[in-house]
């Protein structure tokens, strides 16, 4: 008999005063003891809702509206809280996406373990510390961590602690909900390795919920694909990778490529800008270069007695008019700080930033408007970059009035033209919408339209697609490419995602601890990396192709 049997499960969200949403529709799934199953889907596919329902962590307004969840012979779909609590030991545990924030900041790690041991009483007092050390050892943390407070640990360490805490009840089923999404690229890779090794050693059944098919294919033996609340495909990883049956799976899979490959293609994305920069596009918006010369940025020490933080260390580069350059590196590598200095938000500690004749590092607050007429920014998170209370039209009208000086009907025409440019048609309809009525990709298009309102020469895109679903990424990247080809704007593309850097940029700079470790043509650097750090970044990208090609698949 299988360990977990989900039969015809439906979950519905019933928020007060809103239309109920059927997040999971008649899902059926069975998990065997010791299996490693990946649950993949884009946002809104119901994958997390299913995971929460399975561990009975679903809270109002979510409600299990039908079906059975049989765990080890008992139907847990309708157990009460106390019965559930006892079930958690030796039963099921969950590691959350924000698990690293789930630790109480005023209690040491040892306290966290103590609480669980005390609540279930399965470890005698004298052995608790020893047991906690064993558990930490399993997630590759030293026992010294026990006396630390959560704030003293890095994100990756905290996520490991929360995995160890979940393990402390010796669960037979572990659900990992996007366990690495909130972590840095390099750390992500290491934590996934730990999870994989742990699963192999402990033999529990693991469910890995992720939006990233690449990560799942690399780790799981079996993959379940969800779309719109329904399970559309369920099969062995190798089979899903080589012969996906459902069109949705095929679409997801088509968005993965190896940035090291000779030719990289993404569906729905077409390279339009001239690669070598020799042939100029018909309209050349950009005629000034951004020159960053020996720039450093040192932040004062966070606390007295600590060392000052050097975010950017002696970086020089030149962004030619009409060029596309990528700044890549893990979080904390200083790439966003560089963007802030170029846009005048921060001032460099030393060195100069010039744009045309403008000394950006010496601009006063009032003069920033002059700079922002030419240098505009596309933000990372389209959900927070738009004021939830303003319509799209208002958001776009402001920069049009401020920079182009257009008023009334002329401004409105320009706004509609901008919406047309970013492909939000019918324009009249989109103009009247509020941000929450738009999808993530549509919001990002509005953000791009706003950046274009001043007819800028340079666009600085800070991880513009990292918050979007894969199926939407190609569209937004394609739009950036169109703008470069059509309008001739320069593009500074900041990212940790080497694949997208490969497709939209010509030049690349790899940053590590604020220093440039490698730079050159994007294709050249990514195909034949010289610095060890670049190689490390490249290796951190999930490569299902390599796993299956090497024949080491289980």
């Amino acid at each position: 008999m299988s360990l977990l049997e989900i039969q015809d499960l439906s979950v519905v969200y019933e928020p007060r005063g809103a239309v109920p949403t059927h997040a999971v529709k008649n899902a059926s799934l069975s998990l065997e003891q010791g299996e490693f199953v990946g649950l993949v889907g884009e946002s809104g596919s119901g994958k997390s809702t299913l995971g929460f329902a399975v561990t009975r962590l679903a809270k109002a307004p979510a409600r299990i509206s039908g079906g059975r969840i049989v765990f080890d012979g008992t139907d847990i779909a309708h157990l009460d809280a106390e019965e559930l609590r006892t079930q958690r030991r030796g039963g099921f545990a969950m590691v959350l996406q924000s698990g690293m924030n789930a630790l109480n900041p005023v209690r040491t790690i040892a306290h966290h373990f103590g609480d669980i041991f005390a609540a279930h009483g399965h470890v005698p007092k004298a052995r608790r510390r020893q047991r906690a050390t064993e558990l930490l050892d399993k997630v590759q943390l030293p026992s010294t961590v026990l006396d630390r407070y959560p704030g003293e640990l890095s994100g990756g360490m905290r996520q490991r602690v929360s995995i160890a805490l979940a393990l402390s009840l010796e669960p037979r089923l572990m659900v990992f909900d996007e366990p690495t999404t909130a972590l840095d690229v390099l750390v992500q890779h290491a934590v996934m390795d730990t999870i994989r090794e742990l699963q192999a050693a402990e033999g529990f059944t693991a469910v890995l919920i992720s939006h990233d098919l690449g990560v799942v294919l690399e780790s799981a033996e079996r993959v379940v694909v969800m779309h719109d609340g329904e399970i559309v495909e369920d099969g062995a990883s190798r089979q899903i990778f080589s012969a996906p049956a459902h069109p949705y799976t095929q679409m997801l899979l088509s968005h993965y490529a190896d940035p090291r490959a000779e030719v990289v293609e993404l569906p729905g994305f077409e390279r339009k800008a001239p690669q070598d920069g020799a042939a100029r596009p018909e309209r050349a918006a950009a005629h000034d270069a951004i020159v960053v010369d020996h720039v450093s940025k040192v932040y004062p020490p966070p606390r007295r007695g600590e060392q000052a933080v050097t975010a950017v260390d002696d970086v020089s580069f030149r962004l030619e008019p009409g060029a596309a350059m990528a700044l890549v590196g893990q979080s904390g590598s200083g790439k966003s700080t560089i963007a802030k200095m170029i846009t005048g938000v921060e001032r460099p500690t030393s060195g100069t930033v010039t744009f045309g004749d403008l000394r950006v590092d010496r601009l006063r607050r009032r003069q920033l408007k002059t700079l922002h007429a030419d240098v505009q920014m596309v933000f990372q998170d389209p959900y927070s970059a738009l004021n939830p209370l303003h319509t799209v039209e208002y958001t776009l009208t402001r920069p049009v009035e401020n920079f182009a000086g257009l008023k009334g009907e002329a401004a409105r025409e320009r706004v509609l033209e901008l919406l047309e440019t970013v492909g939000l048609t019918p324009v009249e309809q989109y103009a009247a919408k509020l941000p929450h009525q738009l999808s993530g990709g549509q919001r990002q298009r509005v953000v791009i339209a706003r950046a274009l309102a001043s007819n800028p020469q340079v666009l600085i895109a800070d991880e513009p697609v990292s918050m979007l679903d894969v199926s939407l990424r190609a569209g937004v990247l394609g739009l950036l490419e169109d703008l470069r080809a059509g309008l001739g704007v320069s593009l500074l593309y900041i990212t940790h995602d080497l694949l997208s850097a490969r497709v939209v940029t010509d030049q690349i700079m790899v940053l590590h601890h604020g220093r440039v470790v490698e730079s050159g043509g994007t294709t050249q650097v990514l195909r034949f990396p010289e610095d060890a750090y670049t190689t490390q970044l490249l290796d951190a990208i999930p490569q299902p192709a390599r796993r299956f090609a090497d024949g080491q698949a289980s």
């Binding site: 928020p15 007060r16 005063g17 809103a18 949403t21 846009t343 938000v345 920033l368 408007k369 922002h372 007429a373 505009q376 920014m377 933000f379 990372q380 998170d381 959900y383 927070s384 970059a385 738009l386 004021n387 939830p388 209370l389 303003h390 402001r398 920069p399 401020n402 920079f403 941000p435 929450h436 953000v447 706003r450 950046a451 309102a453 001043s454």
Partner: protein, 326 residues
């Protein structure tokens, strides 16, 4: 809530003439003659009212508050006599002619209670509104702008926060003796804005780091516009909450000052009724209703506004406002 805001704007006119009531027009936001905007404002107010109404506690509060507002507006029609008419017998118990009896000076108690609602509501809404305006203007600019001015404002606000409110009120009121209602309003505003300013400042600080604020700066917006068009609308619930909080304490402060004999004793308010009742030792003569009726009204009015605040709390939940976003 629609009535109360209307009431606030109409009653605010005499108070703005008051030199001590700094009422920056900034908080109103730039008014544009666009019809659609007016329509949308109406829609937003309607939705806000519906949100507050959907909370059972707030619904009770709104009903009580509405009754008091009606009582104040229609006082001349409702009251059987003039509140100053002292031609009746003294210290009469309740009767068909005088439901709640008469005072020691021979005035009708019921008429006084009904007219007293005018003073309490006027002081509550005007003083509450003015101190909220001050709190918004100071809290928002304090939270948004950076520089040395910040420390100065910080010092000032802390000063007003650590000074005990009632003694300060009594001292100011004693200095401005016989100033009438405007004096009381001024005293309440001076002692009441600091708390709201601090709350709004911290919210502003958390909102200013949001991407849409940075994006507005990139759109070439001036600081004032960023503060009042981008940040302010995202705090309406908090501002509404601080308004009702300030109005409640203004009602209580007015009653307290009048009861202590520091207000204008010629005006009929619930506080001054209790003052006179206390002076004529109403409890000893068995006329407890003289203390009880205005006291209950004060308590009910304060309670109703506190109850409304429960619904305003619901407004401040971004998920309620965002609807099904994300």
């Amino acid at each position: 809530m629609a009535d109360t805001t209307a009431d606030m704007t109409t009653t605010a006119t005499p108070a703005t003439a008051d030199p001590g009531g700094p009422a920056p027009e900034a908080a109103h936001g730039p008014k544009r003659p666009a019809r659609t905007r007016l329509g949308r404002t109406g829609q937003v107010l309607g939705r806000a009212f519906a949100t507050v109404w959907s909370n059972p506690k707030a619904r009770v509060g709104l009903v009580i508050l509405g009754l008091f507002v009606l009582m104040a507006v229609f006082a001349p029609l409702l009251a059987p006599y003039s509140p100053h008419d002292d031609s009746f017998g003294r210290n009469e118990p309740g009767s068909a002619a005088h439901w709640l009896g008469t005072t020691g000076a021979g005035e009708d108690v019921l008429s006084q209670v009904i007219y007293g609602a005018r003073v309490s509501l006027l002081v509550g809404f005007v003083a509450g509104g003015l101190s909220t305006l001050v709190a918004v203007a100071i809290g928002l600019s304090w939270g948004y702008l950076r520089g040395w001015g910040n420390d100065v404002v910080n010092f000032l606000v802390n000063l007003f926060l650590v000074m005990p409110g009632l003694p300060l009120m009594i001292i100011i009121a004693a200095y401005l003796q016989n100033g009438g209602l405007p004096m009381i309003i001024l005293v309440v505003v001076i002692t009441g804005w600091a708390w709201g300013a601090r709350v709004l400042r911290s919210q502003t600080q958390s909102l200013r780091s949001r991407d849409f604020v940075t994006a507005a700066i990139f759109s070439g917006e001036s600081s004032a516009r960023v503060i009042f068009r981008e940040i302010l609308p995202n705090m309406t619930s908090m501002i509404a909450g601080s308004f009702f909080g300030a109005a409640t304490s203004a009602v209580l402060a007015e009653s307290g000052l009048s009861f202590l004999g520091l207000g204008d004793m010629a005006t009929v308010s619930w506080g001054s009724m209790i003052f006179w009742a206390q002076n004529s030792m109403a409890i000893l003569t068995g006329q407890w209703i003289l203390l009880f009726a205005p006291g209950l009204c004060i308590a009910l009015l304060a309670t109703s506004m506190t109850l409304v605040n429960f619904g305003v709390d619901g407004l401040s939940n971004p998920r309620l406002r965002e609807g099904t976003g994300r």
